[in-house]
């Protein structure tokens, strides 16, 4: 295997700060290396019961009857619930849970099936018992009579005229217009600019290919878990593992028909999410069981539950056609995107349509997107949702054209790269972006300059774009008399954001990162804060911390003015020191002034609630070298370099961590990960042995280059870095495999068997 890093990690710094850009030890670090940090499953309360969920063994079946009597009779069982315990709704009632608009009927039916089980693993009933073992035994005693129905296994099958319908009330939506006939196609959209025909006429080369992505999972190590206590005073308390405590509050409020004021969500430490812990699953079920029993109820998913009962990233069928002139100008691009929504509408096909050609400045584009329901778990977000599937297609076609034109693949991308002012196919023109800078950093990297030698070896490159988002965040900061501050925020810390948020406050106040004590609190204790997702937390909650710190700075200046008996505008604050010219120079540093607050008017609290707009998108690129065993088809990653525009890396170590983590998830996605479905629409590989995520032995060191093209929309120029890094990986590895073998892999995963098959077919 390939080992050791080839190049030191690089940070192409654009602006220096005192705290921002340094690498302090994260504030929650000690708790997490000693085992003291409390995650969802670690929560325990007096008299707590354990819940177990019975799931559908069928991909598509009508629920004829449910008999819970045997389960209820078992000693140690306290309650059983089914879909009938949730309020009934008609389709078309759209609600905003804070995670976007969804149909309440579908939202509820995904928690507990009502008339139909729509996927293998669909929750059908649940039990609360004195121990998990008893709860599991009881769940197995629930008798469900099913009428098994023909299932829809893929988007293309679901779009067929004679396909079985998942929902009789679902009609195709086209930008506000609905078709009359029920269909499995929930949405069709089209983006277009310029004149596609004209564009292809101008082209000297045109390449069209079809690509298949299979279903994959985020693979967070901590299974979903929730404990609910529906108190006698009517208030519902939920301790859970979530990327967004306020989103859980919002969703449970709608699902259970309970005002948000009656719900308190306590976000425990979270064991990974990658988009998969935005939706609620067992939270409302635990709540129903708690209401029936008057006791706290904890439900922890098994790994199989996680695979079959939570939202994976969708499979898709994609067609991409791109045309270019001999001189290397791309003249036209077209994409057809059919994405699996899973059992209920809402795949990320919209984002796929906006990002598929987002890295390129192309005059003539048409993109058609279809959101199709199939008998699989409702798809959920996964790191740049929708974009990696589209990139697997587009970046391979780009590679093929560059080869046809005999232009270096990075030069070809540079020649057509999106820039400030470039209009995306969905309309908006880019603000300042770092596409060109990322490509140049790739071109200048020693990895790209080094030769690739030896038989069966090849090199690939690829790039990807992700929007990132703003959304609301709140922050409160209290000044302590020892000159430290306590920072209170509501963003679940999934990868070091306590540090990256605290550092932005420290920068404003001229104190050390260690002098800020950040705490993530429950939904009763902080203003509304959107989820930890969309690469938004360091950007948006960091911005809230920046504003709250400035609120403190303003009040501290007033206090200094009061002490010195001067006007507030005569007081300056620089590098942590308050100064005033009043004959002689008066000065106090932050700590000194903090010590005087009690005697000069009392405590100072800073606060801010923000809803920032200009998130500033991020581009990422990969350079990958592989070796393919010609006898087994096994791909070894010899060398991997990831480049990403971070705008400004607040804590470079954790930015590198995001880039390395996204890259290795991409490697798993490219080479081995898939929901292997049997002929009954059931996932056959529901363990971490058979769902092959990369181990430490499967990957080399991941070399990183952080590019800093400041985002004009953020005080420190931050661009979110959580997502873009995974987008280029699958096509880059495919391009490297092609370089090594001449095989153009059009289906994921590119596992050894698939590569040998492709090799045999090529010889035929």
């Amino acid at each position: 295997m390939s080992t050791t890093s080839h190049e030191p990690n690089m940070v192409l710094v654009n602006e220096e700060f005192d705290v921002v850009g340094t690498r302090p030890i994260r504030h929650d670090g000690v708790d997490k290396v000693t085992g003291r940090a409390l995650y969802g499953a670690d929560h325990d309360t007096v008299g707590m019961l354990h819940g177990s969920i019975l799931r559908s063994p069928h991909a598509h079946a009508r629920i004829v009857s449910i008999d819970t009597s045997k389960a209820e009779a078992l000693t140690g069982v306290f309650a059983v619930v089914t879909g009938q315990d949730l309020p009934e709704t008609n389709a078309g009632t759209m609600v905003d849970t804070g995670g976007g608009n969804v149909d309440l009927k579908y939202l509820r039916e995904n928690i507990l099936a009502r008339d139909k089980a729509l996927y293998r693993g669909h929750a059908v009933a649940a039990v609360a018992a004195s121990s998990l073992h008893i709860a599991n035994e009881a769940a197995a005693l629930i008798e469900v009579e099913y009428e098994v129905l023909e299932y829809v296994g893929s988007a293309l099958d679901g779009m067929k005229k004679d396909a079985p319908l998942l929902h009789d009330d679902l009609k195709t939506n086209e930008l506000g217009e609905k078709t009359d006939e029920p269909s499995n196609v929930a949405t069709h959209f089209q983006f277009s600019k310029g004149d596609l025909e004209k564009g292809f006429e101008e082209a000297d080369v045109a390449v069209e290919r079809e690509f298949e992505n299979v279903t994959v999972h985020q693979g967070y190590l901590e299974p979903q878990v929730a404990t609910a206590l529906w108190n006698e005073d009517g208030r519902l308390h939920i301790w859970c593992s979530t990327q967004g405590s306020f989103v859980v509050r919002g969703a449970c409020s709608k699902i259970l028909d309970l005002p948000v004021s009656q719900i308190r969500v306590v976000p425990m430490e979270i064991g990974g999410g990658f988009g998969g812990k935005l939706d609620v699953y067992q939270e409302p079920v635990a709540a129903l069981l708690s209401k029936k029993t008057g006791r706290a109820v904890k439900i922890v998913m098994t790994r199989a539950d996680v695979f079959e009962g939570t939202g994976p990233a969708p499979a898709s069928h994609i067609k991409v056609k791109i045309g270019a002139k001999k001189d290397g100008t791309i003249t036209a691009a077209q994409a057809y995107l059919a994405y699996e929504a899973g059992a209920f509408p809402g795949s990320p096909v919209g984002a796929a349509g906006m990002t598929v050609f987002a890295a390129y400045d192309v005059e003539n584009i048409v993109v058609d997107g279809y959101d199709v329901v199939v008998n699989k778990p409702k798809s959920a977000a996964y790191r740049a949702p929708g974009a990696p599937n589209a990139a697997f297609a587009a970046e391979q076609v780009i590679d093929e054209i560059a080869r046809a034109l005999e232009i270096d693949p990075i030069d070809f991308r540079l020649q057509n790269a999106a820039k400030e002012g470039t209009r995306r196919v969905d309309g908006p023109a880019y603000p300042r972006i770092g596409c060109v800078e990322v490509l140049e950093a790739m071109k200048n990297h020693p990895h790209y300059k080094s030769p690739i030698e030896g038989p069966n070896r090849g090199r690939g490159v690829g790039i990807g774009f992700w929007f990132n988002i703003g959304f609301p965040s709140s922050c409160t900061i209290m000044v302590n008399d020892d000159g430290t501050v306590n920072l209170v925020e509501g963003s679940t810390d999934i990868g070091g954001t306590r540090a990256s948020i605290a550092m932005q406050a420290a920068e404003v106040l001229g104190i050390a990162a260690e002098d800020v004590c950040p705490t993530v609190v429950d939904t009763d204790s902080i203003g509304y804060t959107s989820f930890t997702a969309g690469s938004r937390t360091t950007f948006a909650t960091g911005w809230a911390a920046y504003e709250a710190a400035n609120d403190i700075k303003r009040q501290m200046i007033e206090r200094a003015a009061k002490i010195w008996e001067v006007d507030a505008d005569a007081v300056e604050f620089e590098n942590g020191v308050f100064k005033s010219e009043n004959g002689s120079t008066l000065s106090m540093n932050f700590k000194e002034l903090a010590g005087k607050l009690g005697a000069t008017g009392g405590p100072i609290v800073g606060r801010a609630a923000v809803n920032p707009r200009h998130a500033g998108g991020s581009f990422a690129g990969n350079i990958v070298d592989v070796e393919v065993d010609p006898e087994t088809g096994k791909v070894e990653i010899l060398r991997f370099t990831v480049v990403q525009d971070a705008g400004k890396a607040i804590h470079p170590s954790y930015v590198e961590g995001q880039m390395q983590g996204g890259s290795v998830q991409g490697i798993g996605w490219a080479l081995n990960e898939e929901y292997y479905m049997d002929d009954q629409g059931r996932m056959a590989n529901t363990s971490l042995l058979d769902y092959r995520m990369p181990t430490s032995l499967d990957v080399p060191m991941i070399d990183t280059v952080i590019v800093e093209v400041a985002n004009p929309g953020h005080p420190y120029g931050v661009r979110g870095v959580g997502e873009a890094n995974i987008i280029p990986t699958t096509p880059t590895i495919a391009n490297a495999i092609h370089d090594a073998t001449g095989l153009r892999m059009q289906r994921l995963p590119m596992n050894p068997g698939a590569i040998m098959e492709a090799a045999w077919n090529q010889r035929k």
């Binding site: 295997m1 197995a140 006898e631 087994t632 096994k634 080479l671 081995n672 292997y676 056959a684 590989n685 042995l689 058979d690 092959r692 990369p694 181990t695 032995l697 499967d698 596992n751 050894p752 068997g753 040998m756 098959e757």
Partner: protein, 272 residues
């Protein structure tokens, strides 16, 4: 043990048993006997003359951490050091691997190649069963009610002998063999005097391909000879298509793995 009949299972490392119990695959089982405490099942007795007697419950790491055994039976170490990962190897035993009788059990072809013989004890006394006859189907073995596997005996390695087990997996560790090949050869001035070939994951049980070994006897230890034997191995394999690979792909791997394993075994034999 007798009194519980087929409702009892032996617990050694438990790395398969506990998973099967939780999955509900063994709903009839309601008694688990921890046999790790029985001395005979933990013995590792090696004698250059008599060979190796390996207690059925000896965990993998105790096998590959044993210098003498590692020296004498590198082909066994090949398997013991790739079963599961570090933590699994702290518990999993070759005896357990054999009794579990999975077609993919990595150590079984290695043991067959080395001519291992299972020592079985039961209410009607003791008996021995060659490893290649131990497994009777997926998850099924020759043990009768009340019988248990005590140990496995391997003959002392002959001069100029070499063995090798390799498997193919998509990951580099923590994986189930798509196919595997365990082989052994004995050389006499460049000629193969005896050879054994066995395959994993390509039949209802680990497969002993007697004819592949036979084809090598009397042949020079060359790539050409090896090629012939590995073609026979490919033809002998009867794999199914499942999530781990297609029939065609697995048969192809049998040829590749047998060839690669034999070439290494020959190198090892020359060094002996």
């Amino acid at each position: 043990m007798a009194q519980h009949g087929d409702r009892v299972r032996m617990l050694a490392g438990g790395t398969d048993l506990l998973v099967q119990l939780r999955s509900g695959a063994l709903d009839n089982v309601n008694v688990v006997l921890d046999i790790k405490t029985i001395p005979e099942l933990n013995e590792v007795a090696y004698d250059p003359g008599d060979g190796l007697t390996l207690g059925a419950a000896v965990p993998c790491y105790k096998i590959y951490n044993n210098r003498e055994v590692a020296q004498a039976y590198p082909g066994l170490i090949d398997a013991a050091s790739i079963i599961g990962g570090t933590q699994i190897q702290g518990r999993a035993s070759l005896g357990g691997n054999l009794c579990n009788a999975a077609p993919s059990g990595d150590s079984i072809p290695a043991m067959i190649a080395l001519g291992g013989v299972a020592n079985v004890a039961g209410p009607h006394g003791e008996r021995t069963v060659p490893v290649e006859e131990f497994c009777t189907g997926p998850g099924r073995n020759v043990l009768q009610q009340g019988e248990m596997l005590v140990s496995i005996h391997f003959p002392a390695p002959e001069a100029r002998s070499g063995a090798r087990y390799i498997r193919f997996i998509p990951r580099n560790e923590m994986d189930i063999a798509v196919a595997g090949a365990g082989v052994s050869v004995v050389l006499e001035n460049g000629t193969i005097t005896s050879a054994r070939v066995s395959l994993a994951s390509v039949a209802p049980t680990p497969l002993f391909v007697r004819e592949a070994g036979a084809a090598l006897v009397g042949k020079p230890a060359t790539e050409e000879s090896v090629k012939i034997a590995s073609e026979i191995a490919r033809e002998a394999a009867t794999p199914i298509t499942d999530m781990r690979g297609t029939t065609e792909y697995r048969k192809h791997l049998c040829e590749v793995l047998t060839r690669r394993a034999l070439l290494t075994a020959i190198e090892r034999a020359k060094e002996n």
